[in-house]
Point group: D3
Chain length 251, copies 6
């Protein structure tokens, strides 16, 4: 029993960053005048718009619970990608459902939802431009928009305690040939033989890992190396994100 | 037979513009790295992202014709509005269909479609923020994205002749009480007793007018005054838009 | 910058009516034994069946308002047209949504909706045969069915005041070559270079105008001429319609 | 084991017809100027509009077959019934699917489909008014529209042989209490304890029978009596229908 | 007027059963640990899984009634058939709607629904393997699952009276050439010139008959012979089913 | 910043298995007479039916590729769960999309798809009963059905080389309180504070891991312990599965 081998891909060069460094991150919050929390985030060329909505109605399965709920939605504009995709197809797409479930779990884990009893938070992450890593960029944008939202609640006196219990971020890590690379862009992602999305806290703890081998299975050692590199990169990027969120005062 | 009278609305004040002046317009083109034409446009707080896609396939009803076709789509992000709206509902919405048909007619009238025989152009206008006038802002953003697209075609030598035959823009005009106001924001729109969307050329000719009385019919004189004010305002705004489109070199 | 010119169309002849005269109108009311208001209307070969339904439930966005609401629906039978169209496609069709929004605005403007507080009126206009002008014929049929409905309310003592505040009708006007023609049939509509649907009252006031240039923009003068001819034709046709509605006693 | 007994219903009186006589039938053919075959049929107050469309494309499952196919569709206008029903719900309705499958089988059995090889016939039956018996009235209207269509084919020389091999009609029969009644209207149908739709030929042969007990099972004797009465009534009604179809020359 | 004749089909042989004998029946109840009633049933190779769900909510049209309601659903797994069928298409399928309406009427007629006032019973019949006769096998499986459910209610003391008022079963009968055959498998069904689904009680009374001629109409005599053979076969099969249901004690 | 603490759950007892042992596995292949590969699998009370379909048509995105494609579908029968779920909702469900994407990746990684050039494999996994672990049981059932399918291909001479390159299985592992438990049933899953689905080969290599913390993040050490336990358990279960697949000769 032997696996099929594809010819080894030409490894795409990296611009001016090293293999373990994510692409430049630029975040701006308070970008939507209607939403109580919002953020516009660029990770390289990937571009996300995130908004937070608070609805005074419990999610159906949380009625009677002491906690509120957070639902995340993820969608692409038709021309976020190289080829245009029809809106209706975009919405029914299985990949979209998979991603927004990941987003929801990641963002829910960051909040103490007892502060939102009988309420529902909607975090909408819309991809304006996609160039790899849209799901991890959406988690970062969602975190930024929630930060903006919580600031708003505290400043307006509607909440007295900071409800974010974990600063949750995410990054992708992959194996391109035998090179471990952090934060793959679309071209790198296409040729990677393994690809993990690591969702972790700024203290190096793990929320969730999604993904794995794309071509031939991984050894446990390879898997753990990817996990460790991803966790470290999330810690780095959360420092950068935190600094920008503190500095910027929106719109 | 006498009409119902609502109590006269308190006329909302205008910030620092006079009644016949549109809100500040800011446009940036080349904002999407994948699309051959794109623009980001703000008209006051209303904010539109437009992209152009060229497909090498005729629209079904244009097979065998000497001309190509242009289809426009219009959609709102869930939190473009004061209240969040579900994505699926947004897409099925009758208002959306009405608007994107208007967009399509407006933008088709601006091009010589014989240059795009057996091809289909998609112009996607996505509303990032809505504060009144989204349909006229979408026409302006669509025009800017088409301008960006045509520049691209000419510069790359794929077209030798400028295919835009009419510079088509649009503005809303309304009667608030007895005041004729140009480019109504959401608050003004709510209390207007008449509201026209005037689609016209930079030379003062009419492409289409949509709308009319919202509360009690209009005299023909009132209607013609609105039409004239709208046509004039479109001419003004097209000067501004044209200047910005010439100056800016994208991304 | 010069516009594309299509070869001038052969002007289709008119049967035995002059250019400013609508096609023969035949209306019959009380045609549906279940509905409290109904009408069957022919305008030339175009044929509409309209019914009125009164529901004792406010429309969601009118809860708590002093006024009721009127919703119009427009649909085609599969073989109303030269080619058969699938039912499901008919319902999702963007053109249908555009038209039923126009119908709704036109018919709402004719009633004092304070008489229908916490209620919703449905006016269903189904096209049995289409030969041009289905949207204006639907407005006329909807008006006739509402007239039938109001008669019913008054005669049964359920309403003491006539709730129709404006007799609202509609007609299409277009430019075929340089000829201004009123009430275009399908063949004329196909070759018209401009086409307006004028919704107006029997006193010559304007409710809404929809449409414009189909091939090259219009001068303001051309537009105003079309508007005036349309307004006049609506006044004429409303005299004819009113006479038939008074004379006929249904089923 | 004993069945539940409902209190015996008050038997609704019959207007001026006896128990075995169908309601008055009025049919008019050639009512749609676009369709090659059409009919408008009233059975009492029940009112059906049927059209025939011939498509030069085989149904997917008939590709390569020596025979064509006939598909029937059945739908109700929103206000065909006492209460208004939403269009979308009408289309998804299970009852509709059940009926249009019956219609399809009934009408297919009437034609020699070898005359329509590689073609598909659509028979659309739209219920304008429903007062019981809409499925049998639709079969009768569909038969009339097919008759109109075949006449058209023969007269225009496109077919040399009459393709109708069986004159197929239908009627409902039921037990109201212990009375056997033919062609039940809505009020009778509501209280019937058994209800059969008998589809048969003008020569007394059976195509299909649908239905049965509504309240407590039937003896075989009861069932056969219903079947015989229905078969006889179809023969009678086909004489009436045939006479009207021969006499009338459309629109 | 003469009917088209297909060449007489080669009559498929019967395995080791005679023409009036159904295929072997194997039923097992209590197969689903979550449902209060369930059954797995094989009729030849045709295989059905049926479950009963009791919901403490009246069906919308039964609010205020003294009786509850029973709804049946029928669906095929994608590979129940020779060719795989897409899930979404399976659900929208007209045939499915026709069948589940038949199931519902059959199973409702077997119960005294006064025992389930303000409640709704769902009987789900899923076809694991289809080889002809899926609708009659579903009625038999539904009956078995209801039997299991009622046993459960009685044994747990929640009901003191056996609510099954008629033991309702079903079988298909057909004419293959001139041979009357009972319980046709898929191969026989394909070539049958008539096909009835007889729903009847174990006492020989008729609930409903569905179907008829597939190729050329039937004489009344032929129809009645089919009916009688079907009724008799249902009585036989109900003896077999009853014996198995009494013997087996589930999972 | 401190996380919310829920009161420590009462740890549910394990029947008669230890914490690292999966539930009893019973598999039967060749259970569907129409499909070229099929399996019925029970893991404890969880019960899956899997079928393989081979279509001689490439998936749209694999046209021109040297490899075929494998698509997996996952669905629940309405009463697979404690509460009945509507079929339509089941199909649109985001969870379902997430799972079937995981299934697809897992099963694709097991085959050399160059043997299925220009073809598409469908693996349908239908959950008959759900009691935790349905996604890992579906991977096991899918693997078994593919094994059955490949046997069939080899035995019939249609393939000369065994196309399975990795024996891929899966198991869930979780932390219940501080206990690491393998193959959680529904009750355990509900109270677990972490839950991984480990997809791995019978040689201990990793295909994909899905999941993570459900309540408070995990340390890297905890995560790696779960990963190792899961990988080991997959190896064990694949020995059991392999033995049963070799022994059994289906239907």
């Amino acid at each position: 029993m032997s696996a099929p081998h594809k010819s080894a891909p030409k490894l795409p060069p990296r611009d001016d960053r090293d293999l373990l460094t994510p692409r430049p991150l630029i975040v701006k919050r308070g970008v939507n005048p209607h939403a109580p929390g919002s953020a516009h985030l660029k990770l390289g060329r990937t571009e996300i718009l995130a908004t937070v909505t608070l609805e005074d109605k419990p999610a159906p399965h949380m009625r009677g619970s002491k906690e509120g709920w957070l639902t995340a939605e993820y969608a692409m504009l038709p021309r976020a990608t190289e080829d245009r995709q029809a809106r209706e197809r975009n919405l029914q797409n299985g990949r979209r459902h998979e991603i927004q479930r990941l987003l929801g779990r990641a963002l829910r884990s960051s909040l103490d939802l007892r502060h939102f009893r009988n309420q529902t938070l909607y975090v909408d992450c819309d991809v304006l431009v996609a160039d790899g890593g849209t799901r991890v960029a959406s988690i970062l944008a969602g975190h930024a928009a929630l930060h903006d939202f919580c600031d708003h609640l505290i400043n307006s006196g509607r909440l007295s305690e900071w409800p974010v219990v974990h600063n949750v971020g995410a990054i992708s890590v992959g194996l391109v040939g035998d090179q471990l690379r952090v934060d793959l862009d679309y071209v790198e992602d296409k040729v990677a033989r393994a690809d993990l999305n690591v969702v972790a806290t700024d203290t190096g703890m793990i929320i969730e890992v999604q993904g794995g081998a794309e071509e031939g299975p991984l050894t446990q050692t390879e898997y753990v190396q990817l996990l460790e590199a991803g966790t470290r990169a999330v810690q780095d990027i959360m420092v950068d994100l935190g600094r920008q969120l503190s500095a910027i005062q929106g719109l």
